[in-house]
Structures are given as C-alpha cells and as structure tokens.
C-alpha cells in the first residue's frame, strides 16, 4: 500500500495575487505531495467541495485580502458538514498576529505569515497530517 499526502492549495476571496500560493504548491510538489491546485477566487463552498471530491489530507489556503477571519473558519465548518473532519486546514498570507488565536480556536491548525519558509510549512504538514 502506498500513501501520498494530498493537499488542496486554494486562493479564496477576491485578491488576485497567487504567486505565493504557486511557490508553496511547487515546494509541496518537490516534497513529494500531490498538490491539487484550484487557482484564484474560490468560494469556501467550492474549496470544501473540491476537498471532498479529491479526498485531500490537507487544505492550504492563501489569502491577502483581509477576509481570512470570515473565510478560513467557514471552510473548516463546511468540511465538517461533509464528514471531512480529519482534514488538516492551514492558512497563509498577510494576516495580523492578533487574528491568529481566533483562527486557531476556529480549527485552523496553523497560520503562516510573511517570512515563513516553505520548509517550515512542509515540516508542519508532515508532522500533523492525519
């Protein structure tokens, strides 16, 4: 039996900056993960449904628009509603330190802010994926 870690990389919300998400997607690929890349302007509903169909282990979202406090918890709840409560949800982007405790309380496993290395992200996923 061979297990591959599958990660959905998504850009929710309305900002059009996906360079960071692409860099992360590429790094995860090189770490041996299967990365399902869904591109820009995804709604929480689209992200949760794609995660279900792709049976991913991890949902990684990048957001720069400031809507993280609304969107990240919504994705977590939608995943739970679909029976995907074992998915590791992580976020990244320009996110104020002061918002992070609330995001973690809402079920976001980790939040990576500017300066985080791809190595840190990969290690976190490897250690925490279920």
């Amino acid at each position: 039996m061979e297990k591959r870690i599958r990660v959905l990389v998504a850009k929710p919300g309305l900002d059009g900056h996906d360079r960071g998400a692409k860099v992360v997607a590429r790094a995860l690929r090189d770490a041996g993960f299967e990365v399902i890349y869904t591109g820009l302007r995804q709604t929480p509903e689209q992200i949760a449904e794609a995660a279900l169909q792709e049976d991913v282990n991890v949902v990684a979202m990048s957001i720069l628009s400031g809507a993280h406090a609304h969107i990240f918890p919504k994705v977590v709840n939608l995943l739970k509603g679909k029976g995907m409560d074992d998915v590791l949800v992580v976020g990244g982007g320009v996110i104020p330190e002061s918002d992070i405790p609330a995001l973690k309380a809402a079920g976001i496993a980790e939040v990576f802010t500017p300066g985080a290395t791809t190595g840190t992200i990969i290690d976190f996923i490897k250690e925490n994926v279920k």
């Binding site: 039996m1 449904e49 279900l52 169909q53 679909k82």
Partner: protein, 312 residues
Amino acid sequence: MDIAQELLNGSKLALSRAITAIENEHDDAVDIMKKLYPHTGNAFVFGITGPPGAGKSTLTDKLAREYRLMGKTVGIIAIDPTSPFSGGAILGDRIRMNDLTLDEGVFIRSMGTRGSLGGLSRKTADAVKAMDAFGKDIIFIETVGVGQSEVDIVKAADTTMVVLVPGLGDDIQAIKAGILEIGDVFAINKADHEGADRLNVELNMMLDLGGMTKDWRPPIKQVVANQGQGVKELIITIEEHYAHLKTTGQLTTRRTERTKNEMLDILKNGIGTYITNHITASGQFDQYVKDVEDRRIDPYSVVNDLLKGMLK
C-alpha cells in the same frame, strides 16, 4: 463505514474514499471493487487526449456542461504527471473546471500518473468503475498531455477523442504512428488561430489515406473551447460515434477486449506478488543470483526450474 455500500447509496464521500483506497492499494481496495463490480458497465466512458496545452481540460469543462444540460450526470478523471524525482505532482486540471465543482451532478477527481507511462495512471480503470457504480452516465478520462506514443487511453475508453491545436508541426507529423491512430473523433481546438485550416487539411489527408477499409472515418471538428464555439456540434459527433459503436457491435468487442486485458493484468499482478513473496524473498533466490553471476549456470535455466516448481 462500509465504503462500497455507502457509495452505492449515493455518498460522495464514500466515492471519494473508495478512489483513494483504489489508488493507494489499501488492503480493503479489492473488497470494495468486488462489491462494486456487479454495478458497473452502464456508463459511457469517453477519453480525451492530446498534447500539453491543447485545451483538454477546457474542452472537458465545456463538454461536461453541455452533457449536464442534456440531463446526464458526469464523472471526470483528470490525470497529470507525477514527478519521477520527488513522487509529487501538481494536479491543475481542476482550474479549468471550477464552475462545475458545485454542480451536484458532477464529480471530478484528479490523479497523478504515479510512474505509469501510457498517459493514464495505473488505477484509472478502477476509478472509472467506482464512478460507474456510483451511477454516472458519462465518465470523462482526461489523459496527461501526451506526445506521440502514450496510447493507453484506447484500452480504457469506449470513444477516444484526440485534441490538436495548430502550429505544432508539418504534415509529416500527421502521418507518424501513435496518437493520431487512436482518435475516433478529432477536435482542432483554438481554431481561431492561424494554421487551423491547414491542420484540418493535413489531418483529412492523413485520415483519408487510412480510412478506406474502415467503417468509421474519424470526423474532424473545429472548436474554440474557451468560448464554447463548436462544442454542441462536437457532442453530436461524439454521440454519433457512440451510437455507431452500439449498432455495429463494436462496443461489445471493445469492452470484451478491455475485460480480457484487465483480467490478464490482475493475473499478472497476482503472479508478480507471488514471485515477490515466495521466490525472490527466499535465500535460495540470492544463491541462484550468485551462481548466475559466477557463470556456473545461466539465468534461462534457473527461471525454467523456478517456473516448474511454481506451476506443479
């Protein structure tokens, strides 16, 4: 949960988990397949292949939408290459199909090739069966971007469509063997680009050279997938081919051939596993290797002896 039963009851989560079990060769994958098998054989399996960037995903998206308007449910298996170095993959076909994600009648699954070289992943056929048992009317298989010789799709699909775009080469490319031989239907995408008419002429010449003895001369349709141009006409052609397969009995012939190939594959895998577990795992095999290396015996005689022992 009983994945197979839940899948048959219509659970998307179960379908998704079943495909994961199949892909990862979980211990319970064979049991799941055993339970699903009686419920397969109803879907129309449609293969889409062509070079990278030809517009396979975009065209799949447009065709799937059109089939949804016709009231059909759709499964899509989109395959992208796995890195031979890291084992990782970027599966990016969904980007072109995001609007289908929330359609209840569509299920899209991306798969990495995981070492398979024929344009599909090794477990594509079983993933198709899972979607078939789930009740999808039509199942699209989108291959990786292919070059000239990745032709496994013909073994997996009822109807195969080759998508081409202008500007990739002259008419010598068109008479070479390989993917141009496997199209039941051809689509020239990006037909608004320069060179589309020339490609059309060259393809027609190629097809006329070989088409005299066949009862189906593959038609060529020009489309502009990202604008939806020509998609309705293309579906009519695809459906015509499917009807042709049915009326001529070729559908049965193709599916019989597929069943035969699949059974042979399962048998070969079983024998392969037996060899790994019973022969190469033993110390005696290593001794044989040493003997062969020292030229005390030749490998052909050794294999003969081993086979005799295995088959008695």
